[in-house]
Protein backbone atom coordinates (compact mmCIF):
# COMPACT_ATOMS: atom_id res chain seq x y z
CA UNK A 1 0.00 0.00 0.00
CA UNK A 2 1.40 3.34 -1.04
CA UNK A 3 2.40 6.11 1.29
CA UNK A 4 1.55 9.46 -0.24
CA UNK A 5 2.79 12.86 0.82
CA UNK A 6 -0.09 15.31 0.86
CA UNK A 7 1.23 18.79 0.09
CA UNK A 8 -1.59 20.35 2.12
CA UNK A 9 -1.41 18.09 5.19
CA UNK A 10 2.39 18.22 4.89
CA UNK A 11 2.85 14.60 5.79
CA UNK A 12 2.72 11.12 4.37
CA UNK A 13 -0.53 9.24 4.70
CA UNK A 14 -1.79 5.83 3.71
CA UNK A 15 -3.10 5.35 0.21
CA UNK A 16 -6.44 4.43 1.82
CA UNK A 17 -7.13 8.14 2.38
CA UNK A 18 -6.56 9.05 -1.27
CA UNK A 19 -8.19 8.67 -4.61
CA UNK A 20 -6.42 8.79 -7.95
CA UNK A 21 -7.88 11.38 -10.32
CA UNK A 22 -6.26 10.93 -13.71
CA UNK A 23 -3.53 12.65 -15.67
CA UNK A 24 -2.48 16.08 -14.46
CA UNK A 25 -1.95 19.37 -16.24
CA UNK A 26 -4.78 19.00 -18.70
CA UNK A 27 -6.49 22.35 -18.52
CA UNK A 28 -10.08 22.72 -19.59
CA UNK A 29 -10.01 24.98 -22.68
CA UNK A 30 -11.25 28.46 -21.82
CA UNK A 31 -13.21 28.69 -25.04
CA UNK A 32 -14.39 25.12 -24.82
CA UNK A 33 -17.64 25.79 -26.68
CA UNK A 34 -15.67 26.91 -29.71
CA UNK A 35 -13.01 24.22 -30.03
CA UNK A 36 -12.98 21.65 -32.83
CA UNK A 37 -13.98 18.03 -32.45
CA UNK A 38 -10.30 17.06 -32.65
CA UNK A 39 -9.35 19.52 -29.95
CA UNK A 40 -12.18 18.27 -27.78
CA UNK A 41 -11.13 14.65 -28.28
CA UNK A 42 -7.56 15.61 -27.36
CA UNK A 43 -8.76 17.37 -24.22
CA UNK A 44 -11.35 14.91 -22.98
CA UNK A 45 -10.75 11.46 -24.41
CA UNK A 46 -7.10 10.99 -25.18
CA UNK A 47 -4.46 10.29 -22.55
CA UNK A 48 -0.82 9.39 -22.91
CA UNK A 49 -0.78 6.64 -20.28
CA UNK A 50 2.97 6.81 -20.24
CA UNK A 51 5.17 4.15 -18.77
CA UNK A 52 7.65 5.62 -16.34
CA UNK A 53 7.42 9.07 -14.84
CA UNK A 54 3.94 10.51 -15.19
CA UNK A 55 2.19 13.53 -13.79
CA UNK A 56 -1.15 12.75 -12.30
CA UNK A 57 -3.76 14.13 -9.99
CA UNK A 58 -4.71 12.67 -6.65
CA UNK A 59 -7.30 13.78 -4.15
CA UNK A 60 -6.84 13.44 -0.42
CA UNK A 61 -10.50 12.60 -0.32
CA UNK A 62 -10.58 11.10 3.17
CA UNK A 63 -8.21 13.71 4.52
CA UNK A 64 -8.07 17.40 3.71
CA UNK A 65 -10.20 16.89 0.62
CA UNK A 66 -7.75 18.71 -1.66
CA UNK A 67 -6.80 17.72 -5.18
CA UNK A 68 -3.07 17.90 -5.80
CA UNK A 69 -0.51 16.89 -8.38
CA UNK A 70 2.01 14.13 -8.19
CA UNK A 71 4.90 12.88 -10.28
CA UNK A 72 4.91 9.12 -10.00
CA UNK A 73 6.95 6.48 -11.70
CA UNK A 74 4.39 3.98 -12.94
CA UNK A 75 7.03 1.27 -13.23
CA UNK A 76 8.25 1.35 -9.64
CA UNK A 77 5.19 3.06 -8.11
CA UNK A 78 7.57 5.55 -6.50
CA UNK A 79 6.28 9.06 -5.90
CA UNK A 80 8.95 11.49 -7.04
CA UNK A 81 7.14 14.55 -5.71
CA UNK A 82 3.74 15.96 -4.92
CA UNK A 83 2.71 19.60 -5.15
CA UNK A 84 -0.36 21.72 -4.78
CA UNK A 85 -3.06 22.03 -7.41
CA UNK A 86 -2.74 25.13 -9.55
CA UNK A 87 1.04 25.10 -9.67
CA UNK A 88 2.57 24.60 -13.09
CA UNK A 89 4.18 21.28 -13.91
CA UNK A 90 7.16 21.03 -11.57
CA UNK A 91 10.47 19.80 -12.92
CA UNK A 92 11.79 16.72 -11.20
CA UNK A 93 15.19 17.29 -9.57
CA UNK A 94 17.90 15.43 -11.45
CA UNK A 95 18.96 13.42 -8.40
CA UNK A 96 15.42 12.25 -7.73
CA UNK A 97 14.98 11.28 -11.33
CA UNK A 98 18.25 9.33 -11.39
CA UNK A 99 17.18 7.50 -8.26
CA UNK A 100 13.82 6.73 -9.82
CA UNK A 101 15.37 5.35 -12.96
CA UNK A 102 17.71 3.20 -10.89
CA UNK A 103 14.74 1.92 -8.94
CA UNK A 104 12.86 1.03 -12.11
CA UNK A 105 15.54 -1.58 -12.65
CA UNK A 106 14.38 -3.46 -9.58
CA UNK A 107 10.92 -3.91 -10.96
CA UNK A 108 9.84 -7.16 -12.46
CA UNK A 109 8.53 -6.38 -15.91
CA UNK A 110 7.25 -8.51 -18.70
CA UNK A 111 10.32 -7.68 -20.74
CA UNK A 112 12.57 -8.96 -18.00
CA UNK A 113 10.73 -12.12 -17.05
CA UNK A 114 9.09 -13.41 -20.17
CA UNK A 115 10.27 -11.17 -22.96
CA UNK A 116 13.13 -13.43 -23.90
CA UNK A 117 10.82 -16.40 -24.14
CA UNK A 118 8.82 -14.99 -27.02
Amino acid sequence: MLLIHCPYCEEERSELEFRWAGEAHIARPENIAAISDEEFAEYFFLRNNEKGVTYERWRHIHGCGRFFNAARDTVSDKFLMTYKAGLPKQPIPAATKAEAIAEEKTVETWEQTEGDAR
Partner: protein, 186 residues
Amino acid sequence: MVEVATRTLPLSGVHGGSSKVRLEPAAPAARINLRVRAEDVAALSAALGVDLPVRPKTSASANGRTALWIGPDEWLVIAEGNTDIGSMLVAAAAKSGALHSATDVSHRNTAILVSGAGAAAAINTGCPQDLSLQAFPVGACSRTIFGKVEIVLLRTAEDAFRVEVWRSFSDYAFGMLAEGARDAAL
Protein backbone atom coordinates in the same frame (compact mmCIF):
# COMPACT_ATOMS: atom_id res chain seq x y z
CA MET B 1 -50.84 24.18 19.30
CA VAL B 2 -48.63 21.56 17.75
CA GLU B 3 -46.31 19.64 20.02
CA VAL B 4 -42.62 20.37 19.78
CA ALA B 5 -40.53 17.66 18.19
CA THR B 6 -38.29 15.69 20.48
CA ARG B 7 -34.82 14.57 19.55
CA THR B 8 -33.85 10.97 18.79
CA LEU B 9 -30.11 10.46 18.91
CA PRO B 10 -28.20 8.04 16.78
CA LEU B 11 -26.35 5.33 18.71
CA SER B 12 -29.10 5.04 21.27
CA GLY B 13 -28.81 1.76 23.09
CA VAL B 14 -25.37 0.80 21.81
CA HIS B 15 -22.93 -0.77 24.20
CA GLY B 16 -19.39 -2.00 23.92
CA GLY B 17 -15.99 -1.53 25.38
CA SER B 18 -13.53 -3.54 27.41
CA SER B 19 -11.33 -3.36 30.46
CA LYS B 20 -8.89 -1.21 28.49
CA VAL B 21 -11.26 0.88 26.37
CA ARG B 22 -14.35 2.84 27.29
CA LEU B 23 -16.75 3.58 24.45
CA GLU B 24 -19.62 6.00 24.80
CA PRO B 25 -21.75 8.09 22.49
CA ALA B 26 -20.89 11.77 22.95
CA ALA B 27 -23.53 14.22 24.11
CA PRO B 28 -25.33 16.08 21.32
CA ALA B 29 -23.24 18.97 20.05
CA ALA B 30 -23.59 21.88 17.69
CA ARG B 31 -21.32 21.72 14.67
CA ILE B 32 -20.63 23.79 11.62
CA ASN B 33 -18.56 23.09 8.60
CA LEU B 34 -16.66 26.33 8.09
CA ARG B 35 -14.91 27.40 4.92
CA VAL B 36 -12.73 30.49 5.01
CA ARG B 37 -9.95 31.87 2.85
CA ALA B 38 -6.61 32.51 4.52
CA GLU B 39 -7.07 36.29 4.59
CA ASP B 40 -10.34 35.98 6.50
CA VAL B 41 -9.26 33.49 9.15
CA ALA B 42 -8.62 36.21 11.73
CA ALA B 43 -12.05 37.74 11.26
CA LEU B 44 -13.80 34.40 11.65
CA SER B 45 -11.64 33.48 14.64
CA ALA B 46 -12.72 36.68 16.33
CA ALA B 47 -16.37 36.17 15.48
CA LEU B 48 -16.42 32.59 16.75
CA GLY B 49 -14.27 33.23 19.82
CA VAL B 50 -11.82 30.49 18.96
CA ASP B 51 -8.60 30.79 16.96
CA LEU B 52 -8.97 28.73 13.83
CA PRO B 53 -5.76 26.67 13.69
CA VAL B 54 -3.83 27.05 10.47
CA ARG B 55 -1.35 24.21 10.93
CA PRO B 56 -2.42 20.85 9.48
CA LYS B 57 -3.65 18.19 11.90
CA THR B 58 -4.16 20.65 14.78
CA SER B 59 -7.14 21.91 16.74
CA ALA B 60 -7.83 24.77 19.11
CA SER B 61 -10.36 25.20 21.90
CA ALA B 62 -11.74 28.30 23.58
CA ASN B 63 -15.04 29.45 25.00
CA GLY B 64 -16.56 25.98 24.82
CA ARG B 65 -15.81 25.74 21.13
CA THR B 66 -13.29 23.52 19.43
CA ALA B 67 -12.07 24.25 15.92
CA LEU B 68 -10.52 21.33 14.04
CA TRP B 69 -8.30 21.90 11.01
CA ILE B 70 -9.74 19.69 8.31
CA GLY B 71 -8.16 21.21 5.21
CA PRO B 72 -6.36 24.40 4.23
CA ASP B 73 -9.64 26.33 4.06
CA GLU B 74 -11.88 24.02 6.04
CA TRP B 75 -12.65 23.65 9.74
CA LEU B 76 -15.09 21.65 11.78
CA VAL B 77 -16.26 23.80 14.68
CA ILE B 78 -17.88 21.95 17.55
CA ALA B 79 -19.70 23.56 20.46
CA GLU B 80 -20.54 21.17 23.22
CA GLY B 81 -23.08 21.41 25.97
CA ASN B 82 -26.00 22.69 23.98
CA THR B 83 -28.25 20.75 21.72
CA ASP B 84 -29.45 23.31 19.27
CA ILE B 85 -26.97 26.03 18.61
CA GLY B 86 -25.78 25.01 15.17
CA SER B 87 -27.70 27.96 13.82
CA MET B 88 -26.09 30.16 16.48
CA LEU B 89 -22.66 29.17 15.21
CA VAL B 90 -23.78 30.00 11.69
CA ALA B 91 -25.07 33.34 12.94
CA ALA B 92 -21.87 34.01 14.88
CA ALA B 93 -19.80 33.36 11.80
CA ALA B 94 -22.05 35.65 9.80
CA LYS B 95 -21.30 38.50 12.18
CA SER B 96 -17.68 38.44 11.07
CA GLY B 97 -18.69 40.26 7.94
CA ALA B 98 -15.95 38.38 6.13
CA LEU B 99 -16.39 36.07 3.19
CA HIS B 100 -17.00 32.49 4.34
CA SER B 101 -19.34 29.53 4.24
CA ALA B 102 -20.83 28.19 7.46
CA THR B 103 -23.15 25.21 7.20
CA ASP B 104 -24.91 23.58 10.09
CA VAL B 105 -23.90 19.94 10.30
CA SER B 106 -24.92 19.37 13.94
CA HIS B 107 -27.14 16.45 13.03
CA ARG B 108 -25.05 15.14 10.15
CA ASN B 109 -22.33 14.00 12.53
CA THR B 110 -22.46 12.18 15.76
CA ALA B 111 -19.50 11.35 17.94
CA ILE B 112 -18.12 8.42 19.88
CA LEU B 113 -15.79 9.01 22.80
CA VAL B 114 -13.02 6.43 23.03
CA SER B 115 -10.90 6.44 26.15
CA GLY B 116 -8.61 4.23 28.19
CA ALA B 117 -5.18 2.68 27.86
CA GLY B 118 -6.21 0.75 24.75
CA ALA B 119 -7.97 3.65 23.00
CA ALA B 120 -5.38 4.13 20.26
CA ALA B 121 -5.13 0.40 19.62
CA ALA B 122 -8.91 0.14 19.34
CA ILE B 123 -8.97 2.92 16.75
CA ASN B 124 -6.04 1.34 14.92
CA THR B 125 -8.30 -1.63 14.30
CA GLY B 126 -9.57 0.31 11.31
CA CYS B 127 -7.57 3.52 11.10
CA PRO B 128 -4.28 3.43 9.19
CA GLN B 129 -2.79 6.53 10.84
CA ASP B 130 0.09 6.45 13.30
CA LEU B 131 -1.57 7.26 16.64
CA SER B 132 1.58 7.33 18.74
CA LEU B 133 1.86 10.48 20.87
CA GLN B 134 4.78 11.65 18.74
CA ALA B 135 2.81 11.45 15.51
CA PHE B 136 -0.64 12.27 16.89
CA PRO B 137 -0.27 14.32 20.07
CA VAL B 138 -3.06 15.58 22.30
CA GLY B 139 -5.06 18.10 20.29
CA ALA B 140 -4.15 16.53 16.95
CA CYS B 141 -7.05 15.95 14.60
CA SER B 142 -7.54 14.56 11.15
CA ARG B 143 -10.17 13.47 8.76
CA THR B 144 -9.23 9.89 7.95
CA ILE B 145 -10.56 6.43 7.26
CA PHE B 146 -11.85 3.89 9.77
CA GLY B 147 -12.51 0.53 8.22
CA LYS B 148 -14.94 1.32 5.43
CA VAL B 149 -16.12 4.70 6.68
CA GLU B 150 -14.71 8.19 6.96
CA ILE B 151 -14.22 9.76 10.38
CA VAL B 152 -12.76 12.89 11.90
CA LEU B 153 -10.45 11.92 14.73
CA LEU B 154 -9.52 14.28 17.57
CA ARG B 155 -7.18 13.34 20.40
CA THR B 156 -8.58 14.97 23.54
CA ALA B 157 -6.12 13.46 26.02
CA GLU B 158 -3.22 11.01 25.97
CA ASP B 159 -5.65 8.14 26.24
CA ALA B 160 -8.84 9.72 24.89
CA PHE B 161 -10.19 10.40 21.43
CA ARG B 162 -13.34 11.84 19.93
CA VAL B 163 -14.47 10.06 16.76
CA GLU B 164 -16.79 12.20 14.64
CA VAL B 165 -18.73 10.21 12.09
CA TRP B 166 -21.72 10.71 9.84
CA ARG B 167 -24.79 9.44 11.60
CA SER B 168 -25.66 6.58 9.25
CA PHE B 169 -22.13 5.27 9.57
CA SER B 170 -22.12 5.49 13.35
CA ASP B 171 -23.46 1.98 14.01
CA TYR B 172 -20.70 0.57 11.85
CA ALA B 173 -18.06 2.77 13.49
CA PHE B 174 -19.26 1.84 16.96
CA GLY B 175 -19.32 -1.86 16.03
CA MET B 176 -15.76 -1.73 14.72
CA LEU B 177 -14.62 0.18 17.79
CA ALA B 178 -16.25 -2.42 20.01
CA GLU B 179 -14.28 -5.11 18.16
CA GLY B 180 -11.12 -3.05 18.51
CA ALA B 181 -11.81 -2.41 22.18
CA ARG B 182 -12.18 -6.11 22.82
CA ASP B 183 -8.94 -6.89 21.01
CA ALA B 184 -7.05 -4.04 22.67
CA ALA B 185 -7.79 -5.55 26.08
CA LEU B 186 -6.21 -8.90 25.27
